[in-house]
């Protein structure tokens, strides 16, 4: 029996889909059998992040409606044999599926896979209810902005009201230079405000744009810092103790110029 994890945030655009694609891929790279589920019916994007958009025949709504079997809707990843995508419908809306149907679907997937990672849509309406219905654990993604933190707090309250007590935080797009100057909320500020266990921090990384352009998750690029952060997060999910990323390795200023010169 596998574990189901929902990736949620409240606010849109903080990196839920990127997080889902990268954690799913990283867990598969660590040898786990993984399925990533797009619960954002009507606005699906997880297929694009994995570069699998041209292979979709059936989707989650087809499975729920009985148009196809679950196995027929699963798409095997290009790179990894033990990673699968369950896409959702693009031409339906969120009411096409009920929380009960979603719960049953996730239970079935847990029989086949070690990890079921569910990409939750933004918002706190029907789509959110569906995405969390079958989840054992939750990952709350936020960024160091007041609106994202506020929405994350709301989501944490919603999760707790549902009895989903196992929830952890990922802080995405941290700009270390700005936090050092006190111009951006830092990790302590955010864990202090949200009172939730920290699962990982992901630095702001321009390479993410390139990864998404190509449909190749950042974890497949050994040079990507965000990719490294997501690999660490995947190992923490498996119960490993991995230290949080050093914040000061991107030094600036007079002395660091010399340091960089000598490092070459």
């Amino acid at each position: 029996m596998g574990t189901s994890i929902v990736v949620t945030s409240g606010k849109g655009g903080v990196g839920k889909t990127t997080t889902t694609a990268n954690i799913g891929t990283a867990l598969a790279m660590l040898g786990k059998k993984v399925v990533v589920v797009d619960a954002d019916t009507g606005l699906r994007n997880l297929d694009l992040h994995l570069g699998l958009e041209n292979r979709i025949v059936y989707n989650l709504v087809d499975v729920v409606e009985g148009t196809c079997k679950l196995k027929q809707a699963l798409i095997k990843d290009k790179r990894l044999d033990n990673l699968f995508l369950l896409p959702t419908a693009q031409t339906k809306d969120k009411t096409a599926v009920t929380p009960e149907q979603m719960q049953e679907l996730v239970e079935n997937l847990k029989n086949e896979f070690d990890y079921v990672i569910i990409d939750c849509p933004a918002g706190i309406e029907h789509g959110f209810e569906n995405a969390v219905a079958g989840a054992d654990r939750a990952i709350v993604v936020t960024t160091p902005e007041v609106s994202a933190v506020r929405d994350a707090d709301r989501i944490i309250g919603k999760l707790e009201a549902k009895g989903l007590e196992d929830h952890q935080l990922i802080i995405n797009r941290i700009k270390f230079e700005m936090t050092k100057k006190g111009e951006m909320l830092n990790i302590d500020d955010m864990t202090d405000i949200l009172a939730i266990k920290l699962l990982g921090i992901v630095p702001d990384d321009e390479k993410i744009v390139i990864s998404t352009n190509r449909g190749e998750p950042a974890v497949t690029d050994p040079a990507s810092k965000a990719g490294q952060a997501y690999k660490n997060i995947a190992r923490r999910l498996l119960g490993e103790e991995v230290p949080f990323m050093e914040l000061d390795n991107e030094e600036s200023g007079f002395f660091s110029i010399f340091k960089k010169l000598f490092r070459r």
Partner: protein
């Protein structure tokens, strides 16, 4: 270290963000709006004024966090300066 910042009066913007967040989250979590607090405030003034003469400008009512071990429950804190008690109260 930004040398000029030593002389500037403005706090770092992240501290402003943190303060604003803390305040708004108290309201969000308790599901009350600042307008609600204003209504509550005027009602409290009305009731207490029957018994005491109060300094309305010095009146302070706020929602804050009273919690332990991560579980936070809202608490209503009111600071009401009394000028003098009315005769009816005696």
């Amino acid at each position: 270290m930004d040398f000029l910042k030593l002389f500037s009066k403005e706090p770092p913007s992240k501290d402003v963000a943190k303060e604003r967040l803390k305040l708004i989250l108290i309201h969000d979590r308790a599901n009350v709006s600042p307008t609600f607090l204003e209504m509550l405030k005027s009602d409290i003034i009305r009731v207490i004024s029957d018994y005491a003469e109060i300094d309305e400008r010095g009146l302070e009512i706020k929602l804050t966090k009273a919690g332990e071990e991560g579980i936070s429950t809202p608490a209503l804190i009111a600071n009401i300066p009394i000028r003098k008690m009315k005769d009816t109260a005696k």
